[in-house]
Symmetry: C2
Subunit: 211 residues, 2 copies
């Protein structure tokens, strides 16, 4: 029996998933969580083999929770469930050491397949996800170690809130010139032409979460 934990902030989604997975003869659901904190708590309390977790959740994010679990419970396999099929997010998850990445648009059979695969110690990425990753490899030119630094991250977050350079400067205790330099570097790094594009980039790549 594979002991599975399901985490997602949408209760009916979790319950639906549980209802589906309990039909499988070799899967048993041991717990459910609706945010990152609950997820961590459940992992402490219960004996878990595989975690199915959403990326975006309130309280604590599924990504952050996954990071903690990977470090402290290296035997637990984690499959991220996501509605987004985007290179940057998938790569981030891959590099974090997550064991699987499955789209919410996948079917039941695929999810069961994913659970069985990661339980055996292998990695599982959806077919559609692989296509995205392969396309990214073909056009390899673009993402050569493009990393957003901590400072840039704090600035991009405030930009997404609609703050101007002046406001960001006041907020972070920086001169407007400095903020502008970071903005400039961000536009170059992300190949965006203006703030709106940058904000979209941040949302699409899950750097910043809308609300």
């Amino acid at each position: 029996m594979i002991k599975v934990l399901v985490a997602d902030d949408h209760k009916i989604f979790v319950d639906g998933l549980i209802s589906l997975l309990t039909l499988e003869h070799n899967i048993s659901i041991v717990a459910k969580a609706h945010n990152g904190n609950e997820l961590i708590e459940c992992v402490k309390k219960y004996d878990v083999d595989v975690i199915l977790s959403d990326i975006n959740m309130p309280e604590m994010d599924g990504k952050d929770a996954a990071g903690i679990i990977i470090k402290e419970y290296p035997d637990i396999k984690i499959i991220m469930l996501s509605m987004h099929n985007r290179t940057a997010i998938i790569k981030e998850m891959e590099q974090m050491g997550v064991h699987g990445y499955v789209l919410k648009s996948c079917d039941n059979a695929e999810l069961v397949d994913a659970i069985n695969t990661v339980y055996l110690g292998k990695r599982y990425f959806s077919k559609e996800v692989k296509i995205v990753l392969d396309n990214a490899k073909v056009g390899r030119n673009d993402d050569e170690e493009m990393l957003i630094t901590a400072r840039e991250l704090s600035i991009i977050k405030l930009l997404c809130k609609g703050q101007t350079s002046k406001e960001i400067g006041l907020n972070l205790g920086l001169s407007v010139f400095t903020v502008d330099t970071h903005r400039k570097n961000l536009l170059i790094k992300t190949k965006c032409k203006n703030v709106v594009s940058l904000v979209n980039y941040a949302y699409k790549n899950n750097i910043v979460v809308l609300d």
Copy 2:
């Protein structure tokens, strides 16, 4: 038996929901759809009492599909399933004549309750949704018939893509001045202080969908 149709672009979500709802003695699932077009097709083919539909779907949006169904099949009850608990979206749905609005973070019992309620001809809005609507009524001053016009909508869409006023003007065959006037009016209407806030507003209120 209440004949229910479930529509959502996330297959596992639909299957999970079906698995949950078939446990109910008075509910039977007659069809499922993964986009608005399929939804319309299913309504034509099958005899349906209640539709559970997501708002955002590819091909055709759940909102547009609901509009068509309300006009052409006035006997079918529609419950919108949404992850957003925002006044503007909820009010729009209410005005469209949708019979229920339930959050994806609700539990199974509430969803079943909603299905039974709308089947009896009554309306159903989640408790959390009602709280949001009531809060909006208290601070009634703000939303006095705030409607975004068709032209404004086309402009806000292009703004969300990161286009400048000049580009939008070229795109829509308008002078930059005109575009700027619309932008100005949009900022006033939405009480936003700049484009980024406006873009956020559009995303949050489902006026524009991010990718």
